[in-house]
Every structure is written in C-alpha cells, then in structure tokens.
Symmetry: C2
Subunit: 119 residues, 2 copies
Amino acid sequence: MAAEKEIWQKIGEGFVQEYYNQFDNTNRTTLGDLYSADACLTWEGSSFPGKAAIAGKLASLPFKSIKHIITEQDFQPTVDSCIFIMVFGQLKVFMLKHHACSWVCTNDVFRLGIHNIPA
Amino acid sequence: MAAEKEIWQKIGEGFVQEYYNQFDNTNRTTLGDLYSADACLTWEGSSFPGKAAIAGKLASLPFKSIKHIITEQDFQPTVDSCIFIMVFGQLKVFMLKHHACSWVCTNDVFRLGIHNIPA
C-alpha cells in the first residue's frame, strides 16, 4: 500500500489541478481569485504586482485556449507554514499561504522552458 | 541610467552566485552551510530533509566538477520576508530566509529540465 500523502502535498496537488482546470477550461477571468491581494507574478521576466495586474495579464494572453501537459510536480512545506510548488511541463513555481480559511497563491514565476534550453 | 535594483534582488543574485561558485569550484562539502538546519531539498523527486542529508546528497553527486550555465534568474520578495528564486538553466528553485544575521536556504527543488521536456 502506498504511504498516505502529507497534507501539504494534497493541498498543493489540489491547487495545481484547480489552477490548470480554470486556465484550460474557462476564459481565465476567474484565475485572479486564486491569488492573494498583494501576490507577485513574474512572467518571462516581467513583473505583475497584485491580484488585479495578475488577473489582467492572465486574461490577456493571446491564445484562446490551451491544454497544459504537466510532467512533474514537486511540493514542500516551508518554515512559515506555506507550501512551495514547482510544476514542470509549463515550468511554473508557486507559493501558497493559508489566509481566511483558504489557500491563496502569493508568489508565481513562469518561464516557457522549451525556449530557454542552454545551447 | 538603469533603475537601482531592489535589495531582495541583490541578495538573491549574491546567493545564486555564491551557491554556484561553491558548487562548481569546491568539492561541494561546504554547500550544506548555505542551508538552514531544517531545510528541504527535493532532487528529481527524492526528498532530502535537513542540512546533513542535503550536504550528503550534494557531496555524493557522481560528477567531479561541473560548469553551470545560468540563462535566466527570477526573484520575488514574499509576504513572510523571504526571497523566492527561480534559476533557469539547471532549473532550480530556492527559498531564502533571514536567520542569525545571514540568509540561508530553507527550500530547494531541482529538476534537470532538458530530460523533462514534454513530447
């Protein structure tokens, strides 16, 4: 029998699943609700500070819909009771914090890996 | 004139430079000192909890020396006064926390990106 997963891994996996479900299957306007008010997004080196700027950036991406392929996910708890997540495939890093009875993203960095492989 | 860099970016860049200097130019036995006592490392999906386990893993890697090529680095401050770092090239994520007058790594995830590109 496989070992029971740690709670931070279950929360992290649930967050990633919900995030990409919304990303792939909605018009992305609701994604901002997964971020805290003062969250940071760095998208290919450009900064989008705060929930409104992040929601605007994600809603304005030029593709209409996209299917994400997630090949690997890694989760860790942090000393500040946050959850640290790396998603490979689309190459994304998240930090989640518990706030007002739910988990929100406070930090997010994206890079499209396939364009950045060193020669 | 370029804008002055934020303090968390300067600290993050300094940490990454020192980390890879030690990684590339020493026998890697000193790398453990850059981690906090209860730090977590996830290396290609395997967990190495605590400074001693991390130092042992890094010292035992099969190559004698390696030259890292860093193509991109992203930095963010967190709400808990930590610094969130993504390094592309070798594909590494760090979380730094201020402790006893210096900055130590509390979370680290590594994946070799070039082996994980989705088909």
